[in-house]
């Protein structure tokens, strides 16, 4: 009440981050720079960022060595129920997945 100015900007950053992590962000970009017929530079990017809960829900890759059963259990989602959003461009070998 005693504040002369509304301090809305104070929680804006945190609120934005919370919304962003909760919803998750997927970037799927194909960039090609060509001169004439030759493709000089190409960038293919598949990226996603989300909170732990959202990541588990959508089946994002956690760092290797993570027990995915614990993750799905903690997030309260079924492992088979996960709706995969990112098609992995090249499935890496899964040796030693203990």
């Amino acid at each position: 009440m005693s504040d002369p100015k509304p301090t809305r900007s104070q929680g804006d950053l945190a609120e934005t981050l919370e919304l962003l992590l909760d919803k998750g962000v997927v970037v799927n970009a194909d960039i090609a720079v060509s001169v004439g017929d030759t493709e000089l530079l190409g960038v293919e990017l598949r990226a996603a960022i989300a909170s732990f809960e959202t990541a588990a829900e959508y089946g994002l890759d956690f760092p290797t060595g993570t027990d995915m059963e614990r993750v799905t259990a903690a997030a309260g989602v079924d492992a088979d129920d996960s709706k995969s959003v990112l098609e992995r461009p090249d499935p890496p070998t899964t040796e030693g997945s203990e």
């Binding site: 104070q10 981050l17 493709e39 530079l41 190409g42 990226a47 996603a48 909170s51 732990f52 027990d67």
Partner: protein
């Protein structure tokens, strides 16, 4: 008037949300120069407070290890 204080509040809230919710980053990228795939990036990262980390079973053993080691003089 104390703008720096307000700024630090925003940062504290930012970190609080980040550590509480945690963040998972998954990124794959290929940079091609003149038709030759030159650079590949495969990134899997996670950041969170230890409470969230252990709740999701990450660093669980490591966390227990540290606690055990510090419990014994």
């Amino acid at each position: 008037m104390n703008p720096t204080k307000r700024n630090s509040h925003a940062i504290v809230e930012f970190v609080d949300v980040l550590l509480r919710d945690g963040a998972v980053i998954q990124a794959d990228a290929i940079v091609t120069v003149a038709g030759v795939p030159l650079l590949g990036i495969s990134l899997r990262a996670a950041i969170a407070g230890m409470t969230t980390m252990t709740e999701y079973g990450i660093f669980d053993g490591w966390d227990a290890d540290h606690r055990r080691r510090n419990a014994q003089p």
